[in-house]
C-alpha cells in the first residue's frame, strides 16, 4: 500500500506519506523512494502528487507578489523594508520615483520615512540576493489610511477563496476596500471604523477556521449577524446581560 494517510489528515514532520511512484509536492521531501512531511499540516493527494498544506509557516518572497512592508531604514539610494520574510527587502529610489533619482536634491524621507507602511511588488528575488521591490504600479505606494491585520501567510489563499469568492464577498458585505499582501498582511480601509471592525473580525475567523469546510457561508452569516447587532445595539446589550 503506497499511501499511508487519508486526505486532509493532520501530519507532523517526518511522517511517512507515500512510497515509490508518488511525486513530492509542497512541504514534503523524498528519501530512498519514500515521501515524508516537513511541516505540521494537512496531507493532500492529487493524482500522483503528495503535498502538505502547512498550518503555520513564514513568508518566502516570490517574484510578482504584492506585499505590505514596513520601512526600517532609509539609506543613501533607497529604503530597507521589512516584509515579514527571512530576508529584508530593498526598495531603490529609482523604483519609487517616476523620474531619474538625483542623490543631492531628492529627500528620500519625504517619500517614505522609517515606520511607514508601503504596498509594494517584488520584482526580483533568488536565494543569493535579497528581494527587490517596486512601487511604480497601480495601487502601490504608501499607506495613508486603514487598518492592518496580520495572519499566517499560508492562510492567504483561504482569505482570497476560490476565484476570489471569499475576498469578493468580504468587500461586498463590509463595503471596505481590502488589499491583500501575500506576506500575510492585509490592509482594510472602509468608510467607518465599524465597517473595518467587521472585516477584521471576519478575517480573524477565517484564520482560525481555515481548515474547515463551508467557511464562506459561515463568514457571510457572521457579518450579517454582527451588522444586525449594531443596528439594534440597545436590544442586544440587554440580552447579552441575561446570558452572562
Amino acid at each position: 500500500m503506497p499511501v499511508f494517510f487519508e486526505r486532509r489528515q493532520l501530519v507532523t514532520p517526518g511522517d511517512l506519506l507515500a512510497e515509490n511512484e508518488y511525486m513530492t509536492g509542497e512541504n514534503t521531501y523524498k528519501e530512498n523512494g519514500k515521501i515524508y512531511a516537513t511541516r505540521v499540516g494537512l496531507v493532500n493527494y492529487e493524482g500522483k502528487k503528495v503535498h502538505v498544506v502547512a498550518l503555520k509557516s513564514f513568508y518566502i518572497p516570490m517574484v510578482g507578489d504584492t506585499v505590505i512592508g514596513k520601512v526600517v531604514e532609509v539609506t543613501l539610494g533607497g529604503w530597507v523594508i521589512d516584509i515579514r520574510a527571512p530576508y529584508l527587502a530593498m526598495l531603490r529610489a529609482s523604483d519609487a520615483l517616476e523620474r531619474p533619482f538625483r542623490p543631492q536634491k531628492d529627500d528620500l524621507t519625504a517619500l517614505f520615512d522609517v515606520g511607514d507602511l508601503v504596498i509594494a511588488k517584488i520584482v526580483a528575488y533568488d536565494r543569493t540576493h535579497d528581494p527587490l521591490l517596486t512601487v511604480l504600479e497601480h495601487e502601490l505606494g504608501k499607506i495613508t489610511r486603514g487598518q492592518i491585520v496580520e495572519i499566517t501567510p499560508t492562510k492567504i489563499p483561504r482569505v482570497i477563496g476560490k476565484q476570489g469568492s471569499m475576498i469578493n464577498m468580504l468587500k461586498k458585505e463590509t463595503g471596505c476596500h481590502i488589499i491583500i499582501g501575500q506576506n500575510g498582511r492585509i490592509l482594510i480601509s472602509g468608510k467607518s471604523p465599524e465597517d473595518e471592525r467587521f472585516a477584521v473580525m471576519a478575517i480573524r475567523k477565517i484564520e482560525q477556521e481555515a481548515h474547515m469546510a463551508g467557511l464562506t457561508d459561515r463568514v457571510t452569516e457572521m457579518i450579517r449577524k454582527e451588522k444586525g447587532v449594531k443596528e439594534g445595539t440597545e436590544h442586544v446589550s440587554k440580552e447579552t446581560g441575561k446570558n452572562d
Binding site: 507532523t12 514532520p13 505540521v40 527571512p86 530576508y87
Partner: protein
C-alpha cells in the same frame, strides 16, 4: 528537595526511589505554542524537570559576518534559571551550559532543512526552569517541537532520552540523584522515521554488553518520547477544532434559548 544520598536507590523489588520500574520513564507532559511573541515555542514537564523552549526565525543574521552563503545558521542557547537547582546557580552561562548548547545544536541541526534558507539565522532558546537530571534530553525534545511549531521545514522530529547504570542495574531515564550516585549515564537523541541517532554521549563505565543493552534501552525511551511529541504537536490543532465545535454548540444553544 534537600535530601541526603539514600543508602539504596533500587529496592529488592526492583523499584526505584520515585516508585518507577527499571525500564520506566518519568511521566512526560508537553504543550506546544505557549509563548505569544515567539515564532514557535513549547513547554515540557518530565518528572520534576520543567523546560521552556522558544524559536525565532529564520531571520537576517546579526552580526552579518556570521551568516553562511549556502544555509541557515542554527544558534542555540541552553540556559538554566538561577532557581532551577537547589543551590542558586549563577545566571552567567557556565562551561557546562556552553557545551550543552553546542551538543544540542549539533543534535538538532540534521533534522532541519537549513539549506532552504541561506544567509539567515534560526535562534533557539532552551530555558530550564526546574532541573532534576536528564535536562539535555528533555531540552532537545522540547526544542524540536518548538522548531516544528515555528513552521521550520524538518526531516523529522528529534526525541531524546537517557539510560544508564545504577547500583549495577541498567535503568531508563535517570533522575539527578541516580545520575550522581550511579555508575554510568548515556543520553541519546533519535529521529524515529529516519531511524538515525543524532546524539550519543556517555560518562561512567560500562562493559561492551552493557553498552549495547543501555543503547537499546535508551532507544526504546526515545521512541516513547517521540510518540508523546507527535501527540502534543497534533493536540495543539485538535484543541482548536474542539474549542470551535464547543463554541458552535453553545451558539446553537443560545439561539434556541432566545427563541
Amino acid at each position: 528537595m534537600s535530601q541526603k544520598k539514600p543508602e539504596k536507590m533500587i529496592d529488592e523489588n526492583d523499584i526505584r526511589l520515585d516508585g518507577r520500574k527499571l525500564n520506566e520513564m518519568r511521566p512526560v507532559k508537553i504543550e506546544v505554542g505557549v509563548l505569544g511573541n515567539a515564532d514557535g515555542s513549547a513547554y515540557l514537564e518530565q518528572g520534576k524537570n520543567k523546560i521552556l523552549a522558544a524559536v525565532y526565525g529564520p531571520k537576517e543574521v546579526h552580526p552579518k559576518h556570521l551568516s553562511l552563503p549556502d544555509r541557515a545558521v542554527l544558534r542555540c542557547r541552553y540556559h538554566m534559571a538561577p532557581f532551577s537547582v537547589e543551590e542558586r546557580k549563577s545566571p552567567a552561562p557556565s562551561r557546562r551550559e556552553m557545551e550543552l548548547s553546542k551538543v544540542i545544536r549539533e543534535a538538532l541541526e540534521p533534522s532541519i532543512f537549513t539549506e532552504y534558507y541561506p544567509r539567515t539565522a534560526i535562534d533557539l532558546f532552551i530555558e530550564v526552569l526546574q532541573a532534576d537530571g536528564g535536562t539535555r534530553c528533555a531540552g532537545m525534545t522540547v526544542a524540536s517541537l518548538a522548531l516544528a511549531d515555528a513552521g521550520i521545514p524538518m526531516r523529522d522530529l528529534v526525541g531524546a532520552c537517557a539510560a544508564g547504570k545504577v547500583e549495577g542495574r541498567l535503568v531508563l531515564d535517570l533522575t539527578d540523584l541516580e545520575d550522581k550516585g550511579g555508575e554510568a549515564d548515556m543520553p541519546l537523541a533519535y529521529m524515529p522515521n529516519a531511524n538515525a541517532v543524532t546524539l550519543l554521549q556517555m560518562d561512567g563505565l560500562l562493559t561492551i554488553e552493557e553498552f549495547e543493552q543501555v543503547v537499546n534501552l535508551a532507544l526504546n525511551g526515545c521512541k516513547q518520547v517521540c510518540q508523546i511529541q507527535k501527540e502534543a504537536l497534533k493536540a495543539k490543532y485538535i484543541t482548536v477544532k474542539e474549542a470551535e465545535a464547543e463554541k458552535e454548540e453553545k451558539e446553537e444553544k443560545e439561539e434556541t434559548e432566545e427563541d
